[in-house]
């Protein structure tokens, strides 16, 4: 049937468009010599080794990981009590904090970045590595906030009611019923924030760009001195991390639900 063929063709075209730049970068990353040629000449995985062996790339990798781990933790620490409060209490004015949590994600990122730059510059803390963690934590609070709100909304209130009629107080209900139920949403919220923080450039650059080199900042700085296969290797490494994290969420969680397929 022509309809099926056309549909397959459409899917193939979109897939090709999405994959093409990554295929070329993957090809470039296995060049044997330090040239960026495609199709690659020779085959070598040494550029991937460079990420861990070269002290500068390794330092950037460690900074990026530290930043992403702590920023995602801060984001979850802000989102969890907020989402819990909004679910547990009737307080319409508290929705303003939900709006504040979503705003950095909807507005162009350069605005949040510049706001934080002026803030850290004014407070005299500009350039401290930890300021980037807080900045990213705020910038990505939207992600755990959205996943956790979905998680709370999916809890059957009768369960909680049952626990409290059996004599459990608020704290016990939270620990024994609510937290286990929203754990998957907590984990995916953390994972989303982690992957995005790892890839984030502009907020990190404006807050600690002159003192800390994260991987995206390092790639950008290196771009000015010419392209190397190591940059291609780092890019593929990042694609792989994102694919693994989201793949795990897709395998063990319900990614369709997280993206709004049901309820909401």
């Amino acid at each position: 049937m022509t309809g099926t063929i056309l549909r397959r063709l459409g899917f193939f075209a979109v897939a090709l468009f999405m994959a093409l730049p990554l295929i070329v970068v993957a090809g470039v990353s296995v060049n044997e010599k330090q040239d960026l040629t495609f199709p690659p000449v020779g085959f070598s995985l040494s550029w991937y080794g460079q990420i861990f062996a070269d002290p500068e790339w390794r330092r950037a990798l460690i900074s990026s990981l530290l930043l992403a781990v702590s920023a995602a933790a801060i984001a979850v620490a802000i989102a969890l009590p907020l989402a819990w409060f909004l679910w547990r209490r009737i307080a319409p004015w508290a929705n303003i904090f939900q709006l504040l949590g979503v705003a950095p994600f909807i507005l162009p990122p350069v605005i949040t970045a510049l706001g934080l730059l002026t803030f850290w510059a004014t407070s005299g803390l500009y350039g401290q590595p930890w300021t980037a963690a807080i900045s990213h934590g705020i910038f990505f609070v939207t992600l755990p906030l959205v996943t956790l709100s979905l998680g709370f909304a999916s809890i059957d209130r009768a369960l909680v009611e049952a626990a409290s009629t059996m004599g459990a107080d608020d704290r016990t209900v939270l620990r024994t019923v609510v937290l286990p139920l929203i754990l998957p949403y907590l984990v995916s919220g953390y994972a989303f924030a982690f992957v995005l923080s790892l890839n984030e450039y502009i907020v990190a650059y404006m807050t600690v760009g002159f003192t800390v080199e994260t991987l995206p900042i390092k790639i950008f700085n290196a771009l000015r001195y010419g392209y190397t296969p190591t940059m291609a290797a780092v890019s593929i490494f990042f694609v792989a991390i994102a694919a693994i994290v989201f793949g795990l969420i897709g395998r063990f969680g319900d990614i369709r639900k997280l993206l709004g397929a049901m309820g909401g």
Binding site: V24, V25, V110, A243
Partner: protein, 284 residues
């Protein structure tokens, strides 16, 4: 446990930490930025406190009008291309099996989370002379020798569509997946072809979703801060690129802040429109 209004002060404790964090590290920085937009530039440091409108007065130049016009035009173009491609694609995606949908969503999320630095690097490699797509054309015998296709407007547009397409699909996905399947079934039973059912039933039913998505993608594209710089010429720089440039390289934080305030106003006005469009959809 029923939802109940907070009674004692202790009931508010969970709100304390999120509220403090969001106010101190989002509301105050935002306000600082607005304040700085009225300050004067200090070549020796960041800025000098003052209250001047000079930074806003610079908007009234032809140079700035060009930047603004170009940024808006580029964002509109990106939004249209993305929605035209993503709408039928997402519709077909929601008709696939759960497993196929999950795989696609995982891949789209992976691309969406990619750093703009990496997207810029990937496309500039793809369109370069040594590693680019023209080598393929040479190999096929279509061209004599490989050429560099960038910097150019077409590559900026391609890069930005690449960045915004997964976002567009993920914004459309919830609306399309929840679309009542009986709508198209009815159209099919009455004898219309799948394409006609899509154009005459699905598309009109989601008119407001399409408008809202166009605006969301438009704002998303306005935020692109690196691709025009990495893939285009200086005349292809958008407002976001100029804000970064002024703040970091020209050390003119007050002017950057004024431009950012302007960008906020445009974005807020458009997001407001989106909410309005969404409300009308729910009312129907």
């Amino acid at each position: 446990m029923k939802r109940e209004p907070p009674k004692t002060l202790a009931d508010y404790t969970p709100l304390f930490f999120p509220a403090v964090m969001l106010i101190v590290f989002f509301v105050i920085p935002f306000s600082t930025m607005i304040a700085v937009s009225f300050f004067r530039r200090d070549p020796a440091g960041f800025y000098k406190p003052d209250f001047v409108f000079d930074n806003y007065a610079r908007f009234l130049s032809l140079f700035f009008a060009n930047i603004l016009g170009f940024s808006l035009m580029l964002a509109v173009l990106v939004a249209i291309v993305c929605v035209v491609v993503a709408f039928p694609f997402t519709y077909l995606l929601t008709k696939q099996s759960r497993k196929v949908q999950t795989i696609w969503l995982v891949c789209l999320l992976s691309v969406l989370s990619l750093s703009e630095v990496i997207i810029g690097f990937a496309w500039s490699t793809l369109f370069s002379r040594t590693a680019g797509i023209t080598n393929l054309a040479v190999w096929l015998g279509l061209m004599d020798k490989p050429v560099a296709l960038l910097p150019s407007f077409g590559v900026v547009l391609t890069g930005m569509v690449y960045q915004a397409l997964p976002y567009t699909i993920l914004v459309l996905y919830p609306a399309l997946v929840r679309l009542d399947p009986t709508l198209t079934e009815a159209a099919r039973t009455l004898g219309s072809s799948p394409v006609r059912a899509f154009l005459n039933v699905v598309l009109p039913a989601l008119r407001n979703t399409v408008v809202a998505t166009l605006i969301m993608v438009f704002v998303f594209a306005l935020g692109s801060y690196l691709l025009p710089q990495l893939l285009g010429r200086p005349q292809h720089w958008t407002l976001s690129v100029h804000i970064t440039d002024q703040a970091i390289y020209q050390s003119n934080m007050p002017f950057a802040a004024a431009m950012a305030v302007f960008l906020v106003l445009i974005s807020l006005a458009l997001v407001g429109l989106t909410l309005l469009a969404g409300r009308r959809e729910n009312a129907l």
